[in-house]
């Protein structure tokens, strides 16, 4: 009985730990990793996953585009929703 208790506690601890780590990882993952594990060359794919009419502006170009325009900054300053992608 005692052994069973220890075992259950162990499994429970493992599950809670994994859950906490999972949540933390989800919070800390850069958002462009959401749709792709290798997002360097495919950020445009996020565009197709957007909800309809959710972005006012699309920046699209070479890597300069994605490096030059920061949608968060634009939103914070002017309230404009945008997406920055490149191919």
């Amino acid at each position: 009985m005692k052994k069973m208790k220890v075992f259950v506690r162990f499994i429970l601890f493992l599950m809670v730990t994994l859950l906490c780590i999972g949540v933390t990882e989800k919070l800390l993952t850069p958002k462009y990793y959401y749709t792709d594990k290798w997002p360097t060359t495919t950020t445009y794919s996020d565009f197709y996953r957007l909800n309809k009419n959710s972005a006012d502006v699309l920046f699209f170009g070479s890597s300069h585009a994605v490096s030059a325009f920061n949608p968060q900054e634009l939103y914070d300053r002017y309230g404009i929703t945008s997406i920055s992608s490149f191919k």
Binding site: K3, F13, T17, C20, I21, T24, L28
Partner: protein, 504 residues
């Protein structure tokens, strides 16, 4: 048993990096978990086979299909196993036993000496080209372990192990083979063979040790290492106050890195109910260099004391002989740490510190009287601790610098180049860490100091944590894990998997 020489570009080049990945890789913990489960499922008398199999698999994995390493290691094991029995058989004939023991020690130590010194002698003394050596995992540690085993048998303190597999387990026990602590047969062997019951408290404590080890390695050592690497890589550019900073951070890095590895080893061994001895006792709290060596790398210090210093006569044969013995002991310690003049000089520095410390005792007493410092007062102790740390730091700079000459330049600049403003303008933020990381590093170092001070007072933090309710405990465990995950140092350019001492 000469260390076989392999050609350049072969597997051994990769090896040095791989062999120290041991304790902080995911695969190691998966491996450990599997072993732990099998260990506690099997009947008690069979449990040591699990440890043996684990150790062999671990060693084979580390050797990375380099058969030379395995042959050298197994050769040392077989050889010392047989010689130990022979020495015991000759116990009645003193002269023969002594010759046999001497031969055994020479042969066991030869691969280590070749490994450490051959290239140094070839390049510096014979002006020849460097050879590529194979570096068996933990050679510096298992060599000393084997010698202490042989010496203890020669002196009749222990009986030789007659079961080769059991002996192999003692030599190769995987948590301690990478960086020690260097065990004694009498302390470790029975623990390995007897098979332990599962004890939840011990298990949890070992788990906490592993967490603490990760904290030391990833949050302190590797973070400090980023700055240390930058500073020591370009000693011409970083002089004066930079050397003070580098010396301080390297002292912290080396300590926490080594402590981390030993703590992880203790944690891993503890999961099987095996207790490895402590290797450190808060060395930077020492108030003299002599005391430092009673707190730093204890298993090596005790080894040197029992098998070098005391056999040479220790302090029983007059003052001159005592000083000579200190010099010999620390020269051996220096050579053990690595090939090259700088390690020898580093060892000798520690010997001289101690000798001068003793010779200058009357002068120190006069100084105490002038400064009105009472014996045993807190101020006196603090001043002594700070000055001891300073001298040890200077020796660590020699230990870490690319060469002895570089070290001299760096140390000289500490007193001749005046640039303290680099500590207050943003120069230090250009050394690889930004201000947030510095803040974190400093907080972590303060945390280590507080924990050490508590331990010094006899508080066992793990026991305290165990007194809390299950929710608080779990919150602590998980909180610490997440903290290390977020604030540990990894990523491009960092190699958190390489322990400093592990390459020895």
């Amino acid at each position: 048993m000469m260390a076989p020489v392999v050609k350049k570009g072969s597997a051994c080049c990769r090896l040095k990096k791989d062999m120290v990945m041991a304790f902080i890789s995911w695969s190691f913990y998966v491996f450990l978990a599997v072993l732990v489960i099998i260990y506690y499922i099997l009947p008690k008398h069979l449990r040591w086979y699990v440890l043996l199999t684990g150790s062999i698999l671990f060693y084979a994995k580390m050797a990375d299909k380099n058969w030379g390493i395995l042959i050298l290691f197994l050769g040392t094991a077989i050889f010392s196993f047989l010689f130990a029995i022979l020495i015991r058989m000759l116990a009645g004939c003193k002269r023969e036993a002594r010759i046999l023991f001497g031969m055994a020690v020479v042969i066991v130590i030869l691969p280590l000496l070749l490994n450490k010194e051959a290239n140094f002698i070839l390049v510096n003394w014979m002006k020849a080209e460097q050879m590529e050596m194979i570096v068996p995992l933990g050679i510096a540690f298992y060599t000393l372990q084997t010698i202490s085993y042989l010496a203890d048998i020669y002196r009749g303190r222990i009986d030789p192990q007659r079961n080769f597999l059991k002996y192999l387990l003692f030599i190769s026990f995987f948590p301690q083979i990478v960086q020690g602590p260097i065990p004694r047969y009498a302390e470790l062997s029975e623990q390995l063979y007897e098979g332990h019951d599962f004890d939840e408290t011990d298990f949890t404590k070992s788990y906490m040790l592993i967490l603490w080890g990760f904290f030391l390695k990833l949050v302190i050592a590797d973070k400090a290492g980023v700055v240390v690497d930058t500073l020591f890589k370009d000693p011409q550019a970083y002089l004066g106050a930079y050397v003070w900073l580098g010396g301080f951070l390297y002292s912290i890095q080396l300590y926490t890195d080594f402590l981390a590895c030993v703590t992880l080893a203790q944690g891993a061994a503890g999961l099987f109910g095996v207790r490895l001895t402590d290797n450190f006792n808060h060395p930077y709290f020492a108030a003299s260099v002599r005391e430092f060596w009673r707190r730093w790398h204890l298993s090596l210090s005790f080894w040197l004391r029992d098998y070098v210093y005391i056999p040479f006569g220790g302090n029983r044969r007059g003052r001159v002989r005592k000083y000579l013995n200190i010099i010999i002991t620390f020269a051996i310690s220096g050579i053990w740490h690595g090939g090259g003049y700088k390690y020898l000089v580093w060892g000798l520095m520690h010997a001289l510190y101690q000798i001068f410390g003793e010779l200058l005792m009357p002068a120190k007493q006069i100084l105490d009287r002038i400064l009105r410092l009472k014996n045993g007062s807190r101020v006196r102790r603090t001043l002594q601790t700070i000055s001891t740390f300073f001298f040890i730091m200077i020796a660590w700079i020699v230990f870490r610098a690319e060469s002895l000459r570089t070290a001299v330049t760096m140390i000289k600049s500490m007193f001749t180049v005046y640039n303290p403003w680099i500590l207050v303008n943003d120069s230090v933020f250009r050394l690889g860490l930004n201000w947030r990381e510095y803040t974190l590093l400093m907080c972590a170092i303060v945390c280590l100091a507080v924990v050490s001070a508590l331990q010094e007072k006899g508080v066992i933090i793990r026991d305290r944590i165990l007194q809390y309710s299950i929710f608080v405990r779990w919150a602590i465990y998980i909180g610490v894990m997440i903290f290390i995950m977020i604030f540990g140092t990894y990523g491009y350019g960092f190699d958190p998997q390489a322990f400093i001492y592990g390459g020895l």
